[in-house]
């Protein structure tokens, strides 16, 4: 159907707005690169790995302690949140009586909406002292992992729940007709059928954990050191930016934008992977 003249004008206007909305991502990338450019011109990328320490004022730019802190805390949080999140989704979908399932789902939705700064604050005032009693100082990689787990658990639970709800009802009926037990239905039919959605949910949660700033900034101690145990204080890439942006100038500031670029590329890879998994809708 061809459009009238007024409609064509409307579409042109809408398209202009949409172009603007789509350009924001490019603008962000552009400005990250623009701000990192001064340092990338005279400092090789490898020096962010090979330098001996992070002392940007003395031109030492080693990011590896922060990188490992980010990776360890994300990995730990994903390892803990995945079984808990999947269990939560299974509980509200297959185990809980319908009233309880509704209450539980509301609880998870409520948790998904709690701001990260509140999680961080609670971790600092409640969890860190408890862990400190176990092994000082309390503000540590472990505390960071636990708080991150709480934060990404709702993401995992809600996406897995959505993936399970998309499994065709005929599968469930077929399983019931075969006389499968409840666990047989879950482990043999619905989980395999929903696996790409589940994988996408876990990847999205991992992306959230990598990009999370406030919670880890408040509970992980912020010492720039390669962690050797769960009780060591660590500083993640995001926390490093938040702590040093306030006074960083020149190359130091540019180095922080380089770590912003690194974060952005990690998240891009995860989003891309998640999309790949949701595209591929194979059922068993």
């Amino acid at each position: 159907m061809s459009l009238s003249r007024a409609d064509r004008q409307l579409v042109a206007l809408l398209r202009g707005y949409a172009l603007l909305a789509a350009a924001i991502v490019l603008l962000i990338l552009l400005f990250l690169v623009k701000e990192s450019w001064p340092i990338l011109q005279h400092v090789a990328l490898t020096r962010f790995i090979t330098d001996t320490s992070w002392h940007p004022v003395q031109s030492l730019y080693q990011l590896t302690p922060m990188l490992s802190a980010t990776l360890y805390s994300t990995l730990g949080a994903v390892l803990l949140a995945t079984p808990l999140g999947i269990g939560s989704a299974l509980f509200s979908r297959y185990y809980a009586p319908s009233f309880l399932a509704m209450v539980y789902r509301r609880l998870i939705e409520l948790l998904a909406g709690i701001p990260s700064v509140v999680y961080g604050f609670w971790g600092l005032t409640t969890l860190a002292p408890l862990i400190g009693r176990l092994h000082p100082p309390g503000v540590s990689l472990l505390t960071g992992i636990l708080i991150l787990t709480l934060m990404i658990l709702p993401t995992v639970a809600l996406t897995v729940d959505a993936a399970l709800s998309a499994v065709p009802i005929a599968y469930v009926r077929g399983a019931a007709a075969l006389g499968l037990s409840r666990w047989g239905l879950i482990s043999g039919v619905t989980m395999p059928a929903a696996r790409s959605g589940i994988a996408a949910g876990i990847l999205l949660a991992a992306g959230r954990a990598i990009g999370e700033t406030m919670a880890v900034l408040m509970v992980a101690g912020n010492v720039v050191e390669q962690p050797h145990s769960l009780f060591d204080s660590v500083r993640t890439l995001t926390a490093n930016i938040a702590l040093e942006m306030a006074y960083a100038t020149g190359d130091h500031r540019a180095a922080l934008f380089v770590s912003g670029l690194a974060l952005m590329s990690m998240v891009l890879v995860l989003v891309g992977l998640a999309e790949f998994f949701t595209k591929e809708r194979r059922y068993v």
Binding site: D7, L10, V11, L14, R15, Y17, A18, L20, A21, A22, I24, V25, I28, F31, L32, K34, E35, G87, S88, S92, Y95, Y104, I108, E109, L110, G113, I114, P115, S116, V117, V118, G120, F121, W122, L124, T125, T126, L150, L153, S181, R182, W183, G184, I186, G211, E212, T213, M214, L217, M218, I241, A242, M245, A246, F257, G260, L263, M264, V267, L268
Partner: protein, 278 residues
């Protein structure tokens, strides 16, 4: 015990553990937060770096930042959602590109938004540390969720509406403004509320854009401290600020819970019945 029973026990244990931890968290914040919460706390100026006094100017700054964010994001988000939902048949490639870039935007970490906002709004556009810079940064951040919600709402309107409008000889634009957008009103409001909820919870993107100043803002070009930044500052930089931080956290959570449940109930409403009388 059979595998089936073992799994049942495990799943119930997980649910108990998760709800237990969350009740612990919520009750901690409610019990400690109620201690200082009062009307004067909500309206007074903070004193002694926030240890005593209230959060009046901080609530005003938060509201202004959210207002700037939503006023900027709403036209952009609505127009994009309408284009994606109603007018991409003519141009699939363009629609695909826009969708893809919004997906990426949704995944950008908030601290990266903070870096961008600082470099672009504060320095490049010369807005400095201001409510305007913070609000505009948040506008970029809430666009994806706003667009997605409105787009889903528009797609949930029955196709008969479009056909009937076309049969009556209405132009596409008239059908959009007279039929489709009114029918999708709950979705639009839900999208706006979800956006406000997302923006209100944000901290990392605001520290380097709207700044720390806890005075009552005189204009949009003044720096203003958001509620979430206030909680962060009290707990990390102010010794003895925990009591005020708990109360501020309680205020923030209550605001977000109200906003999010309104959004959820509207979203459910449009899923159930998506027509209103015209």
């Amino acid at each position: 015990m059979s595998k089936n029973n073992l799994a049942t026990v495990f799943i119930w244990l997980i649910a108990l553990l998760v709800s237990g931890v969350f009740f612990w968290l919520l009750s901690d914040i409610i019990v400690h937060g109620l201690a200082k919460l009062s009307w004067p706390f909500l309206v007074e100026n903070p004193k002694n770096a926030g240890r005593s006094g209230g959060i009046g100017p901080i609530i005003v700054s938060t509201a202004l930042i959210l207002m700037v964010a939503m006023i900027t994001a709403t036209p952009l988000g609505l127009a994009t959602a309408v284009l994606l939902s109603e007018f991409t048949q003519q141009d699939r490639v363009f629609g695909h590109l826009v969708r893809r870039s919004l997906d990426v935007l949704a995944g950008v970490p908030s601290i990266v938004f903070g870096l961008f906002g600082n470099a672009f709004f504060c320095i490049y556009l010369g807005l400095g540390f201001s409510i305007l810079s913070g609000g505009l940064t948040l506008a970029c951040m809430v666009l994806p969720i706003l667009i997605r919600t409105v787009e889903e709402g528009l797609q949930a309107t029955p196709n008969e509406y479009r056909l009937a409008a076309a049969a009556l000889g209405m132009s596409r634009g008239a059908a959009l403004f007279q039929v489709l957008l009114p029918a999708a009103t709950p979705a639009i409001v839900a999208g706006l509320l979800l956006g406000i909820g997302r923006a209100g919870a944000e901290t990392a993107a605001l520290i380097f854009t709207s700044g720390y100043v806890d005075r009552m803002p005189g204009s949009l070009f003044d720096s203003g401290r958001a509620l979430s930044v206030h909680i962060y500052d009290l707990s990390m930089n102010v010794a003895g600020g925990d009591a005020s931080a708990f109360s501020s956290a309680l205020v923030l959570i209550m605001l977000l819970v109200i906003i999010n449940s309104l959004a959820m109930s509207l979203a459910k409403h449009w899923q159930h019945k998506s027509i209103i009388a015209l």
